[in-house]
């Protein structure tokens, strides 16, 4: 393969890793003020984004390939993942900036972990081999485990971190077992090329697919855990509720993007020849997620927990796009990108309302927010309406896109279930909006100090609101572009 492109294929990861090393060295050498962290982190993320943009321009449809002996893929899929993950990490950092700055000298570690998580997430999307995918998964997950328990003063943050770690490690083990079984069935861990898994499955009739199917099921379970699809979602509410408010948004958004990127490549590109086997399983997972997520969100009294269950339902909606196989990948990206921004925005508001180190955000904190902080309430309302799928928001466009993909694939029953769940979901989203505008704070209730919003959080909310409205009113250009973001 072309030698110069070899290193350019992992250039985004190199840029991020270099930024992490530099950040930590600068931190212990000069003990700089917090803005120096921002400069290094911003430079790393900007370099990663620029390199992904270059990959997108140069290697979107044509001139794709794998490098490092088939370990890393350069294609539109990986490039778009970078274009999504790195800016998202930047927004996540802005949203969590006050939290990071309040941690004193540990703030540098906080920022380094966010950058490492972004690098791992991109590696998951660009991996062209199960081993590389697993390394990306671990880099990404380990960073998030630590971030979930970053504040030391609360026990429930430790609890969230430990739960996330134990269950996540278990899911990683399940995933790895799936890899082993797929290797046993196909004789390879590499996705593409001669003797790769896709090649083997396309050219071979397997008379005894038991081992392969068992492996496929375990892969699906491991990745479904990462994206918190029901019935593998039980960690999500506790982790989202316990994690410090400032970082929950990044946690939720990045986990979805990275997990679905890996899932989409593995299912549609690598195991595409076995679509008849995994599509029904994905459809059942999707239906279970929308139903379970919606029903359990209805009974929540804590906004962060409610958003966690809503994210389970959204995992189901995104899975709905994947039943269309390769044809649904573009729709999946659209839903994923818009939802990631919405969930980041929503958790940013929650951090402002209940405090960015706090875990819980009971509905009582939100009473009368429309009068106390009208802009915050307006931003939250927009995010919630978008998640509910109200027309003229990106959430509506995304839902239409994934439903159309599923109907084209012949899964009308799944779309009917999802539409019913959407209607039921309106209830709990509106419940928060009603609390913000129609309820007044209880007499003598101890509200947290008046919502404090840093400039970073304001910028995040402005971007989230703009993206939600622009891609809600005119989704077609983005949808067209995303059709090119296909795996090899």
């Amino acid at each position: 393969m072309n030698g110069s492109l070899t290193f350019l294929s992992v250039a985004p990861e190199i840029a991020l890793a270099a930024a992490v090393v530099l950040l930590l060295l600068v931190e212990v050498t000069f003990k700089p003020r917090a803005w120096a962290w921002a400069v290094v982190a911003g430079a790393g993320l900007a370099a990663g984004t620029a390199l992904s943009a270059w990959q997108w321009v140069a290697h979107r449809g044509a001139d794709t390939g794998t490098f490092w002996n088939g370990m890393i893929a350069v294609d539109g899929f990986a490039a778009l993942a970078g274009l999504l993950v790195f800016p998202l990490a930047g927004l996540g950092l802005m949203s969590a900036w006050r939290l990071a700055a309040s941690q004193g000298r540990r703030g540098a570690e906080f920022i380094a972990l966010v950058l490492l998580a972004a690098a791992g997430a991109h590696l998951m999307a660009a991996a062209a081999d199960f081993i590389m995918l697993f390394i990306g998964l671990e880099v990404f997950s380990l960073s998030l485990y630590v971030l979930a328990g970053f504040t030391r003063e609360r026990v429930d943050a430790d609890e969230a971190s430990l739960k996330y770690f134990l269950l996540g490690a278990f899911a990683s083990a399940v995933f790895l077992y799936g890899v082993a079984l797929v290797f046993a069935a196909t004789g390879s861990t590499t996705f593409y090329g001669d003797g790769g898994i896709a090649d083997y499955l396309a050219g071979t009739v397997i008379f005894r697919p038991g081992v392969l199917l068992a492996g496929l099921a375990l892969l699906l379970v491991g990745l479904a855990f990462k994206v918190s699809a029901a019935p593998f979602h039980v960690w999500a509410p506790d982790v989202y509720q316990g994690a410090p408010g400032g970082v929950t948004g990044f946690l939720a958004a990045a986990a979805k993007v990275a997990g679905f990127a890996a899932l989409a490549r593995v299912l549609t590109a690598v195991l595409g020849a076995r679509a008849d086997d995994w599509v029904p399983a994905v459809a059942v997972l999707a239906a279970a997620s929308v139903v379970v997520g919606t029903l359990l969100a209805i009974v929540q009294d804590d906004v962060k927990r409610l958003l966690a269950y809503s994210s389970v339902a959204h995992a189901g909606f995104i899975l709905t796009a994947l039943v269309a196989g390769r044809g649904g990948v573009g729709d999946m990206w659209f839903y994923l990108a818009t939802y990631a921004v919405q969930v980041l925005g929503a958790f940013t508001v929650a951090a402002a309302v209940s405090g960015d180190r706090a875990g819980r955000s009971p509905l009582a904190h939100w009473a009368g927010l429309g009068r106390r902080a009208p802009w915050l309430a307006a931003a939250m309302t927009l995010m919630l309406l978008a998640m509910a799928g109200i027309p003229l928001t990106a959430g509506f466009a995304g839902k239409v896109a994934v439903f159309r993909a599923a109907i084209d694939a012949g899964y009308l029953w799944l779309v009917i279930v999802a539409v019913l769940a959407t209607v039921a979901g309106l209830f709990f989203y509106l419940r928060v909006i009603v609390a913000m505008y129609l309820a007044s704070p209880e007499e003598g209730a101890s509200l947290p100090a008046s919502p404090a919003v840093g400039w970073g959080a304001r910028f995040v909310l402005a971007v989230a609101a703009a993206a939600t409205l622009v891609f809600g009113i005119a989704p077609w250009p983005l949808l067209e572009v995303l059709r090119d973001a296909l795996p090899l």
């Binding site: 006050r98 004193g104 703030g107 005894r208």
Partner: protein, 144 residues
């Protein structure tokens, strides 16, 4: 879906039966066959063959934990270096550069934790570091 042919699962099922069977059989067999002459020394938890003098639950400084963790990291590094050294001739300059990068990352980590005071046995540097951090954090908050 094609008709499910469960015979492909037969080796897995056999393996499962073997694993369970072997562990159950060896447990019971040991209980049945092994001679049993318990003495106070024998029922103690095994510790290098020496009779323990005191209960093992005692407090020990958490700083040992930090040192042990650093030890493991550099232990693993040596494992990787052995693999590289064994095939040094084949890997050439590329291998040297790759291992150099790997070692640099580890040393960078060591520098970081060292400067943060992880190797200080009596904590003065770590305290100083955290005090500086707290002061900077306060300055940040008042500036914001």
């Amino acid at each position: 879906m094609p008709q499910t042919d469960l015979s492909a699962y037969l080796p897995i099922a056999l393996m499962f039966v073997l694993v369970v069977g072997f562990s159950v059989v060896s447990l019971f067999l040991a209980r049945l066959v092994a001679p049993r002459h318990p003495t106070p020394e024998k029922v103690e938890p095994y510790e290098c063959g020496i009779v323990p003098l005191q209960e093992p639950v005692q407090r020990f400084p958490v700083k040992f934990y930090l040192v042990a963790m650093l030890y493991v990291i550099f232990d693993i590094e040596i494992v990787f270096l052995f693999a590289w050294a064994a095939s040094f001739d084949d890997l050439g300059w590329y291998g040297l550069a790759a291992v150099g990068l790997f070692t640099f990352l580890l040393i960078e980590t060591l520098v970081y934790v060292w400067r943060r005071g992880a190797l200080d046995w009596n904590l003065p540097r770590r305290r100083r570091y955290q005090r500086a951090g707290a002061a900077a954090g306060d300055a940040e908050r008042t500036a914001a």
